[in-house]
């Protein structure tokens, strides 16, 4: 029996009839074509699929679309209004070379943005601990951590954009 799912994704209302076993990440990628949210391990480990549900970061491979019914979801596509006006976290990743292949980047950025919502001035240790659930196989994390610290500084220096 299909279930009806209505949610707000990146500021737009969407409604679909889906099978109950549809994962949120499948819903985003296959129903809505939002392929910026990646499927890496599909086992809740790697964090490539991190999105925000009602402002909190979650692994979209470990949540059913039906569980997200009625929520507001923010994906990497919704973070910046246009390609010329990157979110400070995206800009910091670019400026600090916080990526190589880029596969983990959407999840890293969504996770890091959630960190700064809780803790506007994290220490390097706090950034590393927070990113426990995001795996990168290219960078060794060094520049990712640098980028998050840089973004934190940029965001403290400017009025924080409402999500």
């Amino acid at each position: 029996m299909a279930v009806s799912v209505s949610l707000n994704v990146n500021g737009k209302s969407v409604s679909r009839e889906v099978e109950p076993r549809t994962l949120l990440v499948e819903f985003l990628r296959e129903e809505l074509g939002l392929t910026g949210t990646h499927v890496g391990c599909d086992t809740s480990q790697c964090g490539a699929c991190v999105v925000h549900v009602d402002g909190k970061s979650v692994k979209a491979c470990t949540m059913l679309a039906a569980q997200a019914n009625g929520t507001s979801v923010l994906t990497i596509e919704g973070l910046a209004p246009n390609p010329e006006d990157l979110h400070p976290m995206q800009a910091a990743f670019r400026d600090n070379h916080g990526l190589q292949c880029g596969f983990c980047t959407p999840g890293m950025i969504m996770s890091a943005v959630d960190l700064l919502q809780h803790n506007a001035d994290p220490s390097e240790q706090e950034v590393r601990e927070w990113l426990e659930g995001n795996i990168c196989r290219c960078t060794g994390y060094h520049n990712i951590v640098k980028a998050v610290l840089d973004a934190a500084g940029r965001m403290r220096g400017q009025p924080q954009a409402a999500e």
Binding site: G47, S57, T62, L64, A66
Partner: protein
């Protein structure tokens, strides 16, 4: 995943009646264990009953000197809650060390104790703190609730509604985590309440969480890290896997107990 039907009740009564009326219904709380299990086709429920819409199952409060946590309260909420932090800081710290930030945003205390994973953190806390698990039918002491690996005293259709934790005089949790999953290779909660010392161990036992009575006795004589560390734990009932041998786990039980004692004082 095999196909199933999905339900989102708004009350505990409605949830219980759905569980009773469907052929093989399963509760989904935070889903952080159940959804991976379904994806691996290790379970095939006919129906999923999602408790996230049941408002009465969420939240934290004090009832006299007892901390009461609703079953659907997430690990992140427990970790950040000022009432938990003030009543039992060790529990807030424990919740903050479960999995990763995204798992903590979804996973719940009720889900964790109902699942009773042998390497989960909460079962050690409940057992050491002498907690009570309240369900739709009854109240069960933690001593009676955890009955073995992935096994609890819960009957089919019974739903955990809240966890009641008496405030201890002092308590601390020390965990040696698997560096990838953050599950406990060995985790030890030490708590003192009314002069009684309880030491509960997760991650190590073949039958899941257990009380380390040898260490409790040693600590009753002298509440010191040295006393805990001096206890030789037998590897006989320890589990062994690719992460750690039984001997290594037995050794870690004393070491983690001593670290927890040191953190108590």
């Amino acid at each position: 995943m095999y196909a199933f039907d999905y339900h989102k009740p708004s009350s505990v009564e409605e949830a219980a009646s759905l569980l009773a009326s469907k052929e093989d219904a399963t509760v989904v709380a935070g889903g952080q264990t159940l959804i991976p299990t379904l994806k691996h086709r290790l379970a095939q429920p006919t129906d999923l009953v999602d408790l996230s819409g049941v408002a009465e199952l969420k939240g934290v409060k004090m009832d006299g000197d007892t901390l009461v946590i609703g079953a659907m309260t997430t690990h992140a909420e427990v970790a950040a809650d000022a009432t938990v932090r003030s009543a039992i800081p060790a529990l807030a710290d424990l919740a903050d060390g479960i999995g990763d930030a995204q798992v903590r945003n979804c996973g719940t205390i009720g889900g964790s104790v109902s699942n009773n994973d042998p390497a989960a953190d909460y079962p050690a806390a409940l057992l050491a703190l002498g907690a009570t698990v309240v369900t739709t039918n009854r109240s069960i002491s933690a001593d009676d609730f955890f009955t073995g690996m992935f096994d609890t005293a819960l009957e089919p259709g019974e739903i955990v509604t809240e966890i009641r934790l008496p405030k201890p005089a002092r308590a601390a949790y020390a965990k040696f985590p698997n560096p990838a999953s953050r599950y406990a290779i060995v985790g030890v909660m030490v708590a003192e309440s009314g002069g009684q010392i309880r030491v509960a161990v997760t991650g190590a036992g073949q039958d899941g969480v257990f009380r380390a009575t040898d260490i409790e006795q040693a600590l009753s004589g002298a509440f010191s890290a040295e006393a805990a560390k001096a206890v030789k734990v037998s590897p006989e009932t320890m589990s062994a896997d690719i992460h750690a041998s039984a001997d290594y786990r037995a050794h870690l039980v004393s070491v983690m107990a001593s670290r927890a004692v040191a953190a108590c004082s």
